[in-house]
Symmetry: D2
Subunit: 366 residues, 4 copies
């Protein structure tokens, strides 16, 4: 079943296709009285925006967001205040190149949803991937920018920690560098940039693409968000991240590595602090235990598969049942994982906003 | 917010604590006319049941399931038929040992939800982990046994593929061995048993525990299940698996390894078969592309952290703000990942049943 | 689709059939720390209980409720405290008379769901109405008894205001009389009792039955519950009341009479009180304006159709396509509306509890 | 909690305020392959459009709908085909008169949500009623126009059956007259027009307003839609209709009158037809028994209160705690019930579309 809403109380519904006139989202359940400016939303959209370096798609989209409902202006011409009614945000598609889609319309590109779509729906908007295009993620980023404002004191940041077989050096981690103008990769490790550039240039020139791993860290989330069972905070973060295009794996804290650890080594021990508050001596758990946040940093990682659209021919079939060789031209990210950083941040921010409201509902706290 | 229901159309609600009188589930939305016997449900419960080897908890629970609603008997005394109304299943807790919980009641065990619970709720049922006990998973297994019957032709199987640093040899994979009476590990590799035994015995004797990785494979699922965006089949599988106690990571197909692959290597190429149907030359995708099943095997893996309850003392604090050393006695699985195999199967079966009904709703197919 | 859960945050799932071993509910989302006793739940169940007068069904069910999860005992043997996890409540069916259902199994009783069930599901539990039996409402009453405790300061009461063409005299309204031992009708008008008795006795003896109207009043609900559009408080009250068996109409405040009023007459004017708080000069709105509570009494009414099970023969068909005359023997309420009073209270209490939590989520108030 | 989505599978989310730049809806879950034209949507919007007679608001809004996603064009420039992805529809607000809202901004108009909003949210868009404006219903009508196409063979029609104390004569019922150009009332009784005109003119000139009752009839719905308990078809119709602005009561079939009937009189008897199919001899039930459609006409009625915005002064208070007299100028419908006819149709059509998909999900039928 088509289902384009996520969240229980901070509910985000997105709509739009790659080559339609526009895309957007409706954010329902946002608390009233939140003050922000259009620039707060635009800032995150600009970080996700295509065309900023040779390592991402050359499609040129200004991604200017309009807010159509759910806010009143404070009169200074800048400040908007949420009213508690649904916030509708719209982004026009500008650079839909008109080209001949004849081949793509009938061929099933490996790694794309083309075949599954035709089996499921019998009809599809093949232009630019239609609903499955990564352009849809602009709507998530807009919603996430609003979500960031819901939980007091929370900061959600992300960084790319590996491209293909090339990893960052965690000893060099510098959050300040992630959004640096000279950093086309959202890497936190300045030393990784030339390595990544050389690696990606090689892949791009050979008509190939590559995957990536992104890490999201939320600081300042209060303890108590989540639930013991089917609304675990980590479960909803996993669901949100896995819903991003091309994601094939999600982990929290030690993640898959925890399967290799002993209980002695994996325990996050506690002690009382001088401030009379307990603190943890480690964070293998990634800030979530038993589905509930502990007050530590929340740490999630997700794996993005290599871009399926490559210029190296791949064998496939067409909708008429004929064998074909598919070459996907056009303007594609050689590593879709790069621009996934602000998207991952948005999805974690949405999960936190939702659970903050749910926590407040059941306990009256927050 | 407490939220103990999962699924949109095949909806499972579970309830119950480790040391309460009983636990159970309500399965709502099950199609009418499904024929089964109590033994079909009991079989999966027996596979998950504690006390079957020295490598799992020694708590003795018969886990006899009773069906209280939603079925009529066919008169042969065996066959039950679903009526389309909610199926309520109940399992009594038998072996709740009455002991002194004084220390556990006040101490926060590292790796457990104790601290987060107290911050969130201010009250908790500390006996045996309360709602967070792995006993809750018996209810999932009962629901999953019913879910298996919803999608025609689907077989969902699971196997443990690693314990700690010990991996199976995939060349030895034998599905028939997984449920063998001489296999205490749900491993598909007969040669791994003595290795696993020695490894686990060593850990257990030293008062330690270990994590594991489980793989679930669903064969025979039709192409077309899932949705492009926020109801991706892989997203809901990830959510379901991440909701299992102690799970810290989930992946589909190549999973985290896909981040290290190139687009050329990761492409699942297609060709037309002699039967006039397209087939895939590989399955890096794990049977799901763009959120929608392709008709290939659906492959998911999840990582289970080591049991937090260990007899090696760990530093912690108590609810009175005092530093304490915690030793967790009692009857605990040294590797909770082992019994997670039938649980993982159940959660994947539930996701498939739900998406099968959703697919039928939107498209009329299936 | 079968859907046996209502509420968004205070979620009630019920299960069970008339002649199964038991019925029950799972209340999910209840705040932690609510203190109550089993007697608080049993009191409402006893009010709904069958067999208390000659004007209701003679089926004898003790309706003893058991609480299986979600609470801890305070140690005094009486006080239970909610833990925030799902509260499972179970009521055994005791007096399912074993009789020959041969005819009912194959005939479609007019006014009952028999025909619609067979068309929809192709299979049904015909014994005592199966899932559609009014016995299911015991589960609602149990859930409602818990819901009453969620919103501080709220009192939800109901009364029968008419049976057939016999109305109460509102000038005689006495809440204290509603639960009087000599009042078999939940009427608030002592003078109506002999009239109702004579009227009902006549109908019963002639093999007939009759409808009724019930009014529910919630006092003390805070202003601000509800939402402007698709989660209006009156909308959810209407949905909850219309979900009760045999209900054919719901209205709020002036209800259908408001369609006959002018704007001048219907306006609930306001003035400032000496306490510095605004107050209303009338309550045509029934305490809800624009979907949101105003702080006045919330007033809802619902119409219950006459019992369909009557001993006067009615024409119908059977499942083999033959014309038949149906006479429904057995133990039936001549006016199902009577026992609907505590059920209506429960459904309004559940709506208020749900909206109280939703209000707290979005605004932090309450 | 703000909640602006209704439906489980055919899900409609609406957004927008009276005086914002636009309003709209997102329809999610629509089956793929439905063929329609923009004119199909526009037709219903034109029926609801303001400014068409002196008996409705004089605000001039073209209400031109744009479809931004979820469809592909067939190439004939007219036919659109749904793809199964969310359908986003947008209507611009054109005639928001810029006037001084000083008084309305601070005064609580009796019968409006002003006071409740301020208590709940602390902030509101007071221009034209903001989110609570009846302009929101344009979005419902657009969604409903799509919903009409989902259930094969269903026709949903509505008519006004009374204005204030003036009723239609059912003997004159003529569906063909409802949309007649000379019928400003959606009345099915041509003879009622002069009566209604005189009545309304009198009210309007005296600065007053009046309520109305609307009846919706759905013909051709298959038997089997709905569910026994918390997803009864009548329950969801009641919920949908009660969510319309100013609605205070909803009834199905005989509705409140059924409370005055005996079981003998209320029974809808059945007989076998010559075509081998059972038929009903009456339709007191309004086409729904036990929550499930019987295949007869589905009949629902709802009561709309008189317009609260009147030019006769009413006593109230302002947000500063001062007594005030409120006179509501502006362009208001003297009877908001008139334009509620196409809105009621839309809401019933949406309920049917949703239940059709839910029925197909659980049973595979339809």
């Amino acid at each position: 079943m088509s289902h384009n809403t996520f969240g229980q109380l901070f509910r985000v519904t997105t709509w739009g296709e790659s080559h339609g006139p526009a895309l957007g989202c409706v954010v329902d359940g946002c608390p009233p009285g939140i003050r922000f400016s259009l620039a707060d939303i635009q800032r995150d959209l600009d970080r996700r925006r295509p065309g900023k370096s040779r390592f991402v798609t050359q499609r040129q989209e200004p991604d200017q967001v309009r807010i159509l409902s759910g806010v009143v202006s404070e009169g200074d011409g800048e400040t908007l205040v949420t009213t508690g009614t649904p916030v509708s945000m719209l982004i026009e598609n500008v650079d839909q190149r008109s080209k001949d889609y004849g081949e793509i319309a009938n061929q099933y590109r490996p790694g794309h949803a083309d075949y599954a779509y035709d089996v499921k729906y019998g009809v599809r908007d093949f232009r630019g991937g239609g609903r499955s295009s990564a352009r849809e993620t602009a709507a998530r980023v807009a919603a996430g920018a609003l979500a960031r404002l819901v939980v007091p004191g929370v900061t959600v940041r992300g960084a790319l920690v590996s491209i293909g077989v090339e990893d960052i050096d965690r000893a060099n981690w510098d959050w300040g560098f992630v959004d640096d103008a000279d950093n086309p990769f959202f890497t936190p490790d300045p030393a990784s940039v030339p390595r990544f550039e050389a690696y990606l240039d090689g892949l791009r020139k050979s008509g190939n693409s590559i995957g990536a791993v992104i890490e999201i860290v939320a600081e300042g989330a209060p303890a108590g968000l989540g639930a013991p069972i089917y609304a675990k905070l980590d479960q909803d973060i996993a669901s949100n991240l896995m819903s991003i295009n091309a994601v094939k794996g999600v982990e929290i804290g030690e993640g898959f590595n925890s399967a290799r650890l002993t209980g002695v080594d994996n325990a996050d021990e506690m002690r009382m602090g001088n401030d009379g508050k307990p603190f943890f001596l480690s964070n293998h758990a990634g800030g979530i235990v038993g589905g509930i946040s502990t007050g530590q940093d929340i740490v999630a990682r997700f794996a993005v598969k290599p871009t399926s659209s490559i210029t190296t021919p791949r064998r496939s079939v067409d909708k008429f049942g004929k064998d074909v060789d598919v070459v996907t031209k056009g303007r594609h990210d050689p590593c879709v994982g790069i621009r996934a950083v602000p998207i991952g941040e948005a999805m974690v921010a949405c999960a936190l906003a939702d659970h903050y409201l749910r926590h407040r509902a059941q306990t009256g706290k927050g």
